[in-house]
Point group: C2
Chain length 490, copies 2
């Protein structure tokens, strides 16, 4: 390789991950990571029963081994790490409650935690190793998303494309790849990166397919690299790499921005409403205005949400939603739920998003308008601005600079845990008691010697599956305890 290899942004990113040591990570960042893991686990459990998830799980049952070391979270059955990562990543993104990083417009949790947990279970990693790997995935994925820029997100679903790279970095860190190995892993992941927004207009199921593929492909790439499979050295910034093919405003300086001093992990936002993040700033602004003015939904004649172009691109495809999932991408529906029912959480969507006349009436009053200031601040800040005209002719305005769940307006621990329990119970995947036991284990993951095991006391686990699982001995694939199965060959 040429002498300047080590100075390439991708190489510097890989060196950072290879050198990352748990002791270097500020405790506040570790705490955020644990909160993000709890928030994610809730989302993964909430995916139980979602049609898209069940179909992907059916494929995993047909094509993958009937037992293995890794947990399929919604059903608690076990299979190989590859299929566990695939199904869990689909499940985690089904109810649109998983986290988001503003500046990169990237949902890290759904593509990073599933492959890391699946491999950690298979290879008996510690809690600290798992946390370090996940933080590595966040730091890489967020920077790659920022690097690819707004033009990428116009056509590509960043969580699908960048997700494969983030998952490869995280799993690569977990299995101990050095900088060169990580570079090969990123090369193999980046050349698998895919995910187009076209599905939105049809209410198709691709969003969960994207996260499933990203998580599984990233795991695949990292395992291949461990076995000597070579990837492109400059898959991100090279002349025929991701930016060349899928962006026209890429900024390579973002790939290494503040490595080791800036912790992008802690910039990640928790989603409070159960909808596309692009609806949240306006939802919060509307909620504030209606509360402060004492308005009911029938007091409102029209609502204009002043938004960034990305919101129009993603939400503009939906007119009258046909499915609950599509309703989460309908600005008018989200604002209607807030106006009529005061909340836009999972239950509100299930019960009121499609057939509620009041919500439908409010939806018809809402339109989006591009706002130069909001657009200029985006994606670094997601500002909410709404204008209401009341039926009695008043013009009212409100603004929210940090939607609820953003780092400057984050969830209290109690809110975070309550949200996670609601998610866990939503599809019957876990009881509140089970979820509390899982959360307790996660809060302790950074204790020395803590195993990377979320479910040992939460039903399922090593014993018989809690419900409906068909488990079979699988020849040489049976796992008698942790640490006996190594991924890849050998």
């Amino acid at each position: 390789m040429p002498p300047d290899t080590a100075s390439w942004p991708t190489a510097r990113l890989c060196a950072f991950v290879a050198d990352l040591d748990f002791e270097q990570i500020p405790p506040r960042v570790v705490d955020v990571a644990k909160g993000l893991m709890i928030d994610w686990l809730g989302s993964a459990l909430a995916g139980k029963g979602a049609r898209q998830v069940e179909i992907i799980e059916g494929f995993a049952r047909a094509m993958g081994p009937a037992d293995g070391p890794s947990t399929v979270i919604p059903t608690r059955r076990r299979t190989s790490p590859y299929f566990a990562a695939m199904v869990n990543a689909a499940a985690s993104h089904a109810v649109e409650q998983d986290d988001v990083h503003n500046g990169s417009v990237f949902h890290p949790a759904t593509v990073i935690f599933p492959p890391v947990l699946a491999v950690a279970e298979a290879e008996a990693k510690t809690g600290r190793e798992m946390l370090t790997a996940c933080i590595a995935g966040y730091e890489v994925g967020i920077r790659v998303g920022e690097f690819l820029g707004r033009s990428h997100y116009e056509t590509f679903h960043t969580t699908g494309t960048v997700g494969a790279v983030a998952a490869a970095a995280a799993v690569g860190k977990l299995i101990g790849l050095d900088a060169s190995g990580l570079n090969h892993a990123l090369g193999s992941a980046g050349t698998q990166a895919a995910g187009l927004w076209e599905f939105l207009r049809d209410a198709a199921d691709s969003k969960q397919l994207h996260t499933a593929r990203a998580a599984a492909n990233g795991l695949f790439a990292a395992c291949l690299a461990r076995d000597g499979f070579r990837g492109a050295a400059r898959i991100l910034e090279g002349k025929k790499g991701m930016a060349a093919g899928m962006s026209h405003d890429a900024d390579p300086t973002r790939l290494t921005d503040g490595l080791g001093s800036r912790w992008a992990t802690e910039e990640t936002s928790f989603k409070w409403h159960a909808s596309c993040r692009h609806t949240h700033p306006a939802a919060d602004a509307l909620q504030r205005l209606m509360r402060s003015e004492g308005l009911g939904p029938e007091d409102v004649a029209t609502v204009v949400t002043h938004v960034h172009q990305g919101a129009i691109d993603v939400l503009g495809a939906v007119d009258i939603p046909q499915t609950v999932h599509q309703a989460k991408f309908s600005m008018g529906t989200v604002l209607g739920l807030i106006a009529v029912h005061g909340v836009a959480d999972l239950d509100a969507f299930e019960r009121h998003a499609l057939a509620d006349a009041g919500v439908a009436r409010f939806r018809s009053k809402v339109r989006m308008a591009l706002d130069a200031e909001v657009d200029a601040l985006y994606p670094r800040r997601w500002v909410g601005k709404v204008s209401i005209t009341t039926v009695d002719g008043r013009q009212l305005e409100a603004r929210v600079d940090e939607p609820k769940g953003d780092p400057g307006n984050t969830l209290a621990r109690q809110e975070l845990e309550a949200k996670a329990v609601r998610l866990a119970e939503f599809g019957g995947a876990a009881t509140a008691e089970e979820m509390r036991a899982c959360m307790s284990r996660i809060w302790s993951l950074d204790q020395p010697g803590s195993p990377a095991d979320l479910f040992a006391n939460a039903g399922g686990g090593r014993g018989p599956p809690p419900s409906g699982g068909r488990e079979h001995a699988v020849g040489d694939q049976r796992v008698h305890g942790r640490g006996e199965t190594r991924l890849g060959r050998g």
Copy 2:
């Protein structure tokens, strides 16, 4: 959906596939398809022992079931259709002898035959069903490649991106999806489409990863569609679809060009030299000129190959090749093999591409120059033009309008079979006798009642594996005979 749905190009393509009946296909096209299958099987067997293939196969062993209905061709072990398709697609592209369609710059065989065979084995399809499905895959994939145009191929490896769509169409046809189901399958395949050329400069292993992923992803997409998973309706031509994200000269009229009258399958070229197809026209022209003039390699002072831009894009990354695979993308090496050894076949590459002083000397005499006429004809025609300056000062020129293996200069059946036997024997994956038995079965696949089974009399088969395979009973995944395993749920 809007009323004009059925007129969308993607919808018309899907309707064509859904309606395609074996009886409609001209016998000469069926004959070509059988020849392409023989040619492909040789390539799949020749992948045995290739490092990239062994690593991917190691992943399949670790993550997939240890038994199943589908054959992993290089080793003749059995696993689930998903992993058989994945490994076989990697294997088929390892030695760069698989077919190519000029106009689309797409290698159909390596991404279409593996998933179709894997599913045909699992679901007891007939030879006619398999041939029809493969032809459907060729007709779709070639048109999608043509549609995406030259700008796509500048950055994207069309066989990786389009391959997923072609595989989905082929498997979707095989498992009996209707037009709507095929549209969903294409939507899920297109949103997984990936593969960047960046790997070429590093001699990385991504080319086989691309074919592995395309075949497996296409199979995945078709199986998902059968179970009701929805894909974008206009993934090819839609505003946020493949062309929007990955091309700037897409031509939607190409998607439906001559459907039912033009058979793109029969336009496919067989590769004669074991190198990147972009080297073939110049190799043939050089060979013709040196023979007609009675030149030896030391008589030649310089060679200029007059090429299209695509050749410079793909081959320009390689200066002095470091691996045999990279040597196949080195114009100078290919021409050196032709000049010094008279052939650029698999053995010549293995023995002479890297360490032969005469080949290296000839390589240093070769340069590429963009030629306006050649570039204008490309990709419809791949014209070879070379200029030689001899050491005694003569200026000589030669031109080849159809490189050997093109439809107008195709292989005789004897040449085709001899090439396939050489490929089968190359890595010890099959004996000449086994390969002849396989070829005999393929030539008879269109006989009524012929099963889609290539290996029954060719070693391996249902009995114990021929060498080194570890086979275990796999709980409920053991397959006692054909037709007992259905893909997907159910």
